[in-house]
């Protein structure tokens, strides 16, 4: 069976859930092989084995992490050529899409981004993409070369299926072009212990209506009661009330949780772009005309500072 390459999303070997989702999808298409770039393979090995990676191509040269995006594309181009892979799957975040774009040019292949599923139709891979805010579902296939497909987080439920995760070392002589943009500093804006926004099953987001950074504790309290991740609108991140990495929307994260709670968010089109494929949408807003109400399954017209604390208490009581 042909190999399907899956680019592992990880932090020092701590494998992100989207990778397990991609391995699950890859298994329906062929034999999943993981591509692991960076350090920490030993920590990642068991998870990759548990979710069905037969082989893991490991490129852990230190210099790979010193430059932006291009080195990973060079590693993938080499592995794709050496393994004659039938497809390459990457997580559909900003970086995954950029790697995919560069790879597409390197190996002369077609690219599909933001897929929510990939199936094999008699050996041809067909990707499903929601477009126009999820109102239309497009099925596309790659016509040239090795299909390169980026898949959104939360597109499949990870299914375990044990495999060897046999390590295959990859060495790549980086081109000068790949070393052109040097990363000189990484700043992590701490987000605490809550679930990861892109992968969370429930997201509670606050907007300008929350009023201030301090008052964002009402959002955090509800998120904690629900076991949810915290999101924010751009108005909030621009004002510095909450770090940018929590922004949901066009220039923030695209989330598609089981439940999205929008509190004090008007529902501007750029915000909707990041959340409108959520399964269930709930909003609290004091303006009955707020566009967010066009999207909701359940909405409360009211003051979030009145409603949320009572709601949090009630949920805690019921769970208690």
């Amino acid at each position: 069976m042909a190999e399907i390459l899956v680019l592992v999303d990880h932090v020092d070997g701590e494998v992100k859930k989207v990778t397990l989702e991609l391995l699950t999808i890859a298994r329906r298409l062929g034999e999943p092989s993981a591509v692991f770039v960076g350090s920490g393979f030993d920590a990642a090995k068991d998870r990759l084995a548990e979710y069905g990676a037969a082989k893991v191509y490991v490129a852990d040269a230190e210099e790979l992490g010193s430059y932006l995006v291009a080195p990973v594309a060079e590693v993938l181009a080499k592995v794709a050529a050496d393994s004659s892979a039938a497809a390459v799957l990457l997580p559909s975040g900003a970086e995954g899409k950029e790697i995919a774009g560069r790879l597409a040019i390197k190996i002369g292949s077609g690219l599909i981004t933001d897929a929510t599923d990939v199936v094999s139709d008699g050996g041809t891979f067909v990707a499903e993409q929601p477009v126009f805010g999820g109102s239309t579902i497009v099925k596309s296939k790659v016509a040239t070369g090795t299909p390169i497909i980026t898949v959104r987080p939360n597109s499949a439920a990870p299914e375990a299926s044990s495999a060897a995760a046999e390590r295959v070392d990859v060495t790549v002589e980086l081109s000068d072009a790949a070393k052109a943009a040097r990363i000189t500093e990484r700043v992590v804006e701490e987000k605490g212990e809550r679930p990861d926004l892109s992968a969370a099953a429930i997201v509670v987001s606050g907007g300008r209506g929350v009023g201030s950074g301090e008052q964002f504790s009402v959002i955090e309290a509800l998120a904690d009661a629900l076991g949810a991740a915290v999101g924010a609108s751009r108005a909030v991140t621009d004002a510095g009330w909450y770090p940018h990495q929590h922004q949901v929307g066009q220039t923030g994260k695209t989330v598609s949780p089981q439940l999205y709670v929008a509190a004090g968010i008007s529902g501007a089109i750029q915000h909707r772009a990041g959340m409108q494929t959520s399964k269930t949408i709930v909003a609290v807003n004091k303006d009955p005309e707020a566009p967010i109400f066009e999207l909701v399954d359940f909405g409360v017209v009211g003051d979030l500072h009145q409603v949320l604390p009572v709601l949090t208490e009630e949920i805690t009581k019921r769970k208690g």
């Binding site: 932006l68 995006v69 900003a94 995919a100 774009g101 296939k141 220039t251 359940f298 909405g299 009145q306």
Partner: protein
């Protein structure tokens, strides 16, 4: 320092149907094609860099005849001249083809910096900047919330927005830089700017001018194809309740809803 700024014309999918405040009728003008919003920030950044270190700002746009509107808008904001890549053979181009045509067009001019928006609101792929860097063999500095060019004009440093926070990324010029909307506040074209734009040079280039084979772009060269599509069932209109003022009623009804869906 010479800057080329890439702008795309997109259907105005963002502004949904709007009422015209003058007479409360449907504003049909609002659904006209417009400049991709994020590209306005790229134009603004180009103009600010030019104000600081001189040189010329050239607008580069690939799109049909109607895209001249978008080109004009960038010129009326203050860019000096424009290149419009216009050819019927480009219709239906995917990202590979678009990046090919843009890279060839860049080959016809000299520049120190290529500025782009980080995402177009119609394609939403966010890949053209990375693809251009790959094709041109230039450093890629994308998703910039801040751009600083060294005083000697030899290098550029950006703050790149990431999932965790930001990265500082550095490269020598020439380079490809894409920006996010946090970087600045785009100016509105002034009346003087709009008048001046009418006289600014716009060079129109065809595929033949660029030496691009028609088979590599457009529908003919598409490297991926839409098999079929279906319209998702419309969202069921939801229930909206009004809170009585102290939060209890709203919270109670909401918790019942959430319990019904097994979230609590």
């Amino acid at each position: 320092m010479n800057i080329v700024v890439c702008v795309k014309q997109v259907p105005d999918t963002w502004s949904e149907k709007k009422l015209n405040p003058a007479d409360n009728t449907l504003d049909r003008g609002a659904t006209d094609p417009v400049m991709n919003e994020m590209d306005e920030y790229a134009v603004e950044e180009a103009l600010r860099l030019q104000e600081a270190s001189g040189g010329e700002v050239t607008v580069l746009c690939m799109g049909p005849e109607s895209a001249t509107e978008t080109v004009r808008k960038a010129l009326s904001m203050g860019a000096d001249k424009a290149i419009h890549v216009l050819d019927d053979g480009l219709h239906g181009s995917d990202a590979l083809a678009t990046s090919l045509a843009l890279s060839k067009a860049l080959g016809t001019t000299s520049y120190d910096l290529v500025l782009l928006g980080s995402e177009s609101s119609d394609a939403r792929m966010s890949v053209i900047p990375a693809m251009l860097a790959e094709r041109l063999g230039l450093p890629q500095l994308t998703f910039a919330k801040e751009v600083t060019v060294a005083a000697d004009g030899g290098s550029v440093t950006i703050k790149r927005l990431t999932d965790e926070g930001y990265q500082v990324v550095e490269a020598s010029l020439p380079a490809v830089v894409s920006v996010v909307e946090k970087i600045n506040e785009p100016r509105y074209p002034s009346f003087k700017g709009i008048m001046a734009a009418k006289k600014k040079p716009v060079e129109t280039l065809s595929l033949a001018d660029l030496g691009v084979d028609g088979g590599d772009v457009g529908t003919a060269g598409a490297s991926s194809a839409v098999e079929s599509f279906e319209t998702a069932p419309p969202r069921q209109a939801g229930t909206v309740v009004k809170d009585e003022g102290d939060g209890t009623v709203g919270a109670q009804k909401l918790v019942e809803f959430l319990a019904g869906k097994k979230f609590v």
